[in-house]
């Protein structure tokens, strides 16, 4: 019997390969969508199973390794993120993909993500991590070598760091499955508390933690390892980016949770706490906080839609990291909640960007404007997405952000609190810039015959937009699932209400009163005189007459004052630093080669002599 976990994990890959081999237009899309839908269906079904039993397990031995897979509440939630957003992204790709190459690798990365979420031992975790990286890398490679190389190098750096950490753990613990490692390290911590010698030294723990942090930080886009994300997210099929940013970055987040699961107790024992948060978590949280700010500010200064959202993605993942770093049960739940909402709204955003790019063929703000009239459906979706990302009640973005704020601030983290506040404001800032430059204002004449979204994309966006609204109005739906992770009621309240003791949020109530407020405003509005629709040229420009030929909308350098204010900080760039290092390494390599393999046989003979000398002196 084939286990359902295997079906969940491998269906996308298999369908991807089939779609790639068949390469018949229409058929490949259908197969691929099926490939994304089947795991989702199985996951939804698994929800039933998980109510009666704590987890679903599967294990297999390959190449001397025992691969274990486990579906329990935490992984179910993450897998559902992958399922829903992945499905939507695949639907979107049905409209935007032109060849089967993309299907293969997009679905391969989906398989990778499922594998990561369901893996219950480090080796399968690593393997699927690599599969995911590879799949997404190939998606970028097609569009841009430099971006993909940057992505791949940093990812592989992360992956190798993880491998080293896994290796150290394996060397010390002698096992690779989560359960054993967790128990061993827990016992190790207990040994430490009792004062006996521990299995792993302080330096070991520091090393393992650091390596894992690099590994997961890269994928999550954590500062200062975020530099790949803006390029990689933007230089690929934008429908795929919905998955890339919405789901793949969650693998990094999930990895951070894995740190907690595996090493939490041991690290806590080793390094203690700052205030209420574990010290190691504080590192994550603080880097997350910086990520929010850096990502947000850079997002506001971008001139390319795709880049804006790429940076925005980085910024939003920063929130999640803050939540995870703070490390209380509530904050972790909040972080996961935000992971869900981030996947939903950012997936939606990238599908919107995909639509725009598909229909206009342009990506820069300077070529856009006034599309709201031409693409009303897309704009409606954008509206939902914007409200959600900006954290406007009653959408899901607010519910999760609210939870996160409360969780972080409640743990007495003033500086982090300030950082996340700043982050929410910067969210407004770059969203409005996007809205203004793309949807409003004067429309360049070459966009006059822009069509609205194709149907698969519309369905995909519709799914995500609906979930954005539903999970915002009824946050309890998510909270019940989150509570199952810890097995106790951390977030109380009803389906409409989140109640965490020191704060309450009721999505339904807010919706009702917001509607009431708007109705009141509407009454006043409709009592007034009739309105007349005027064109965009009929605006006040200091009395000057205007025509459509001249651009009235500020499309470039919209936040110039911000740039000026931040001029000092903007000179510091980690991207450049890495590039310099890369160039330096290449030069070194070249010099090295020229010196060593210089083509001179006398020199080569000398090498032999030297080695012989070393052999003699060493005394082997």
């Amino acid at each position: 019997m084939i286990n359902e976990l295997m079906i969940i994990i491998f269906t996308p890959l298999i369908t991807g390969v089939i779609a790639w081999l068949l390469d018949i237009k229409g058929l490949r899309e259908g197969i691929s969508i099926l490939g994304a839908a089947v795991p989702l269906a199985y996951l939804i079904q698994a929800h039933q199973t998980l109510t009666s039993q704590p987890s679903i397990q599967y294990s297999i031995v390959i190449s001397g390794f025992k691969f274990e897979f486990l579906l329990y509440h935490l992984s179910w939630i993450f897998a559902m993120i992958a399922g829903v957003v992945g499905f939507a992204a695949v639907l979107g790709m049905a409209s935007t993909t032109k060849d089967s190459y993309e299907w293969l690798f997009a679905l391969m990365s989906l398989t990778g993500v499922y594998g990561i979420f369901l893996a219950d031992d480090l080796i399968s975790f690593f393997i699927f991590w690599e599969i995911m990286t590879f799949g997404s890398f190939m998606m970028v490679l097609k569009y841009n070598r430099k971006a993909s190389l940057k992505y791949f190098l940093l990812s592989v750096l992360g992956a190798y760091s993880m491998l080293l950490a896994i290796g150290i753990l394996y060397a010390k613990v002698g096992a690779l499955d989560f359960t054993t490692i967790q128990q061993t390290l827990y016992q190790d911590a207990m040994r430490g508390v009792l004062g006996t010698n521990t299995l792993l030294s302080r330096n070991d723990m520091l090393l393992i933690f650091g390596l894992f942090l690099i590994a997961f930080g890269v994928k999550a886009g954590m500062f200062p390892l975020h530099v790949w994300a803006p390029d990689a997210y933007s230089e690929t099929n934008q429908s795929y980016t919905a998955m890339f940013s919405g789901v793949l970055s969650k693998a990094g987040v999930y990895g951070m949770l894995v740190i907690y699961i595996l090493l939490g107790t041991r690290l806590m024992y080793q390094f203690g706490r700052i205030g209420a948060a574990p010290k190691f978590g504080y590192v994550i949280a603080f880097l997350g906080g910086i990520t929010i700010i850096v990502g947000g500010l850079l997002a506001a200064l971008q001139e390319d839609i795709r880049k804006l959202f790429a940076y925005s993605s980085i910024s939003q993942v920063g929130y999640i990291l803050v939540g995870i770093g703070v490390g209380s049960a509530l904050s972790i739940e909040a972080a996961i909640y935000h992971a869900i909402s981030h996947a939903l709204f950012k997936g939606l955003f990238f599908l919107i960007v995909a639509t725009i790019v598909l229909r206009t063929g342009k990506t820069e703000f300077k070529d856009m404007g006034g599309l709201a009239e031409k693409m009303p459906i897309t704009f409606a979706m954008t509206f939902v997405a914007i409200l959600s990302l900006a954290g406007i009640p009653p959408l899901v973005g607010f519910a999760s952000k609210w939870l996160l704020f409360e969780a972080v601030i409640h743990e007495n983290m003033p500086i982090l609190g300030g950082m996340i506040f700043f982050g929410s404001a910067i969210g407004f800032v770059y969203l409005i810039r996007f809205t203004y430059a793309v949807w409003f204002g004067q429309r360049p004449t070459d966009l006059d015959d822009t069509k609205d979204t194709p149907i698969p994309l519309a369905i995909a966006m519709g799914i995500l937009a609906l979930l954005n609204v539903v999970f915002g109005i009824a946050p309890g739906l998510v909270a019940t699932e989150l509570n199952k992770i810890f097995g106790k009621e951390i977030i109380k309240g009803t389906i409409w209400e989140l109640n965490i003791g020191f704060g309450r949020y009721n999505g339904l109530l807010i919706t009702i009163w917001l509607v009431t407020g708007i109705v009141i405003a509407g009454i006043i509005y409709f009592l007034g005189a009739k309105v007349r629709r005027v064109p965009v040229t009929d605006t006040y420009q200091g009395g000057n007459p205007v025509t459509m030929e001249y651009n009235l909308t500020i499309r470039r350098n919209f936040f110039l004052p911000l740039k000026e204010t931040l001029a000092f900080w903007l000179r510091i760039s980690f991207d450049r630093l890495y590039q310099d290092i890369g160039r330096w390494v290449e030069d070194l390599a070249e010099t090295l080669r020229n010196y060593i393999y210089n083509g001179n046989v006398q020199a080569y003979a000398w090498y032999l002599a030297i080695i012989l000398l070393i052999l003699a002196l060493w005394g082997v």
Binding site: G167, Y597, V620
Partner: protein, 498 residues
């Protein structure tokens, strides 16, 4: 029955000397003859492989019926059976490839030399006598020198010259090492050396081992004894390069590992392991770095091949069974991948007349199948899951970590990052960049395409389902690692001691 296995040595040897006669029959028959012989060899190797792995017992062939240590014996254990097969298969594929790839006359010399190369490598792997090992090594080396120079270009002669100088120095020291061992133990039989290794005078043992390692280091391309390799790889005819990478260097590595583990009772064993690890790591790092800015793709692959060899050496030098297993696994995978890639590069060179990066631009449109093969090979070498090299790499890394060599692994992984860079550049170049020259699509040779696809399929099959290969490899590694078993397997003449 199992005595027929000696034909593995005899057949290429005899047929090599038949080549002039064949030539007399007809010039055109020479290459088909080569293919035929390698095919027969492959058949035999398959049979031997099957025999060894089904019975689980090594095939011991005593030359002239004299039992060792008096007579020379061949020992075709699990490892040898596996590698004899690989050698035969690689030779067979390359023989087919050389039908088109070898254009320079005299082809009969080529056929002869490549048969001798195969013979030498097979002999190195299957011999049970250390002096015999030296002889086979010399056969391999000398035919390799000649084959390197086969293209008769200045570049080729220079490369061959370098190879001869360095190889010559290496083998002379190897011989000195053997002499020392013989002087100390009075035996040349490997099993007996293993038996008696503990009794050796430590100083002599040290010196002898140093010489042996030094000598084999040249063949096994350890840094900095590998200086000949890039030139030779680049200058040699394409099938020869593939053979170098696929089995010649592997034979050297095998010899290194075999001697190393046979003498593990020697007091200074730990030292030599440490030295080997250092050399292996340096090989990896320097090899990868050298490949980084290479514009000649063949040379780039050569450097890459060198660094992979360093990887294997590190695995052997860990001194644990896990390390040996991983190394052998890596050897198998590397042989497959590099055979594929050198063949593909050679094919590109044949069709397009050059192997610089410029020639590779837009290859995906000109020669899609070849480009695909190179891509799969490159991806595999980078170490992506679902491709074969991943498994051996991760096994090796975990083995090294288990042995407490995290620093070394960190260095090696760092070097692997560099590897990713140049392979990705190549892949992007092939598929997504337009060449400066207008080129039409070339109709690819059906046979070569089939061979390449076969190898690609092998890469992916091992990548997706590595279990079978892994089991084979584990048995092979036990063959090398478990010296006690080895001694027991060889029917030493009782009572004969030095």
């Amino acid at each position: 029955m199992s005595q027929y296995a000696s034909l593995l040595i005899a057949l290429p040897l005899i047929s090599a000397f038949f080549v002039p006669i064949i030539k007399a029959i007809g010039k055109k028959v020479v290459m088909p003859f080569l293919v035929l012989i390698t095919a027969i060899q492959m058949g035999m190797a398959t049979w031997v492989f099957n025999e060894v792995y089904t019975t689980g017992k090594p095939i011991i062939i005593m030359a002239g019926g004299f039992r060792p240590p008096v007579g020379i014996n061949l020992y075709i254990g699990h490892f040898a059976a596996l590698f004899v097969l690989i050698i035969a298969v690689a030779s067979f594929f390359m023989a087919i490839f050389s039908m088109k790839a070898i254009t320079v006359e005299p082809k009969d010399k080529y056929a002869m030399l490549s048969l001798l190369l195969m013979l030498g490598a097979t002999g190195m792997i299957s011999t049970g006598d250390i002096f015999n090992l030296f002889v086979f090594m010399e056969i391999t080396a000398i035919s390799a020198y000649a084959l390197t120079a086969y293209n008769k270009s200045g570049e080729a002669s220079e490369a061959a010259m370098k190879y001869i100088v360095l190889g010559g120095i290496g083998s002379s020291f190897f011989l000195v090492g053997i002499a020392l061992i013989y002087g100390s133990l009075g035996t040349l039989n490997m099993a007996q050396i293993a038996q008696l290794a503990g009794q050796m005078n430590p100083t002599v043992a040290q010196a002898a081992l140093a010489m042996l390692v030094f000598g084999l280091g040249v063949e096994a391309e350890l840094f900095p004894l590998n200086a000949w390799a890039p030139d030779a790889y680049q200058a040699a005819p394409h099938p020869v390069t593939a053979m170098f990478s696929a089995f010649v260097v592997k034979a050297g590595l095998y010899a290194l590992a075999r001697i190393l583990y046979l003498t593990h009772a020697v007091g200074s064993w730990g030292h030599i392991l440490r030295l080997l690890i250092i050399l292996g790591t340096l090989t990896v790092v320097i090899g990868e770095f050298s490949a980084l800015r290479q514009t000649n793709v063949k040379r780039m692959f050569a450097y890459s091949s060198i660094s992979q060899v360093g990887f294997i050496a590190v695995g052997f030098a860990l001194g644990t069974q896990a390390g040996v297993s991983a190394s052998i696994f890596h050897m198998v995978n590397h042989a497959i991948v590099k055979a594929l890639m050198f063949m593909a590069v050679g094919y590109v060179a044949l069709e397009l007349g050059g192997v610089t990066l410029e020639d590779f631009k837009g290859l995906g449109k000109v020669m899609p199948l070849t480009a695909f093969a190179i891509t799969v090979g490159a991806i595999s070498i980078i170490g992506i899951p679902l491709f074969n090299v991943f498994w051996s790499k991760i096994q090796l890394i975990l083995a090294a970590m288990k042995a407490g060599k995290s620093g070394v692994i960190a260095l090696i992984l760092g070097a692997s990052l560099v590897e990713a860079v140049y392979y990705i550049r190549l892949i992007h170049l092939m598929w997504f960049e337009e060449g400066s020259r207008e080129r039409t699509r070339i109709k690819e040779n059906f046979v070569f395409g089939t061979i390449m696809l076969l190898l690609v399929a092998l890469i992916i099959i091992i990548g997706v389902a590595p279990n079978m290969t892994w089991n084979i490899v584990q048995k092979a590694s036990a063959d090398i690692y478990n010296v006690a078993q080895y001694i027991k397997n060889v029917p030493l003449l009782p009572g004969v001691s030095p």
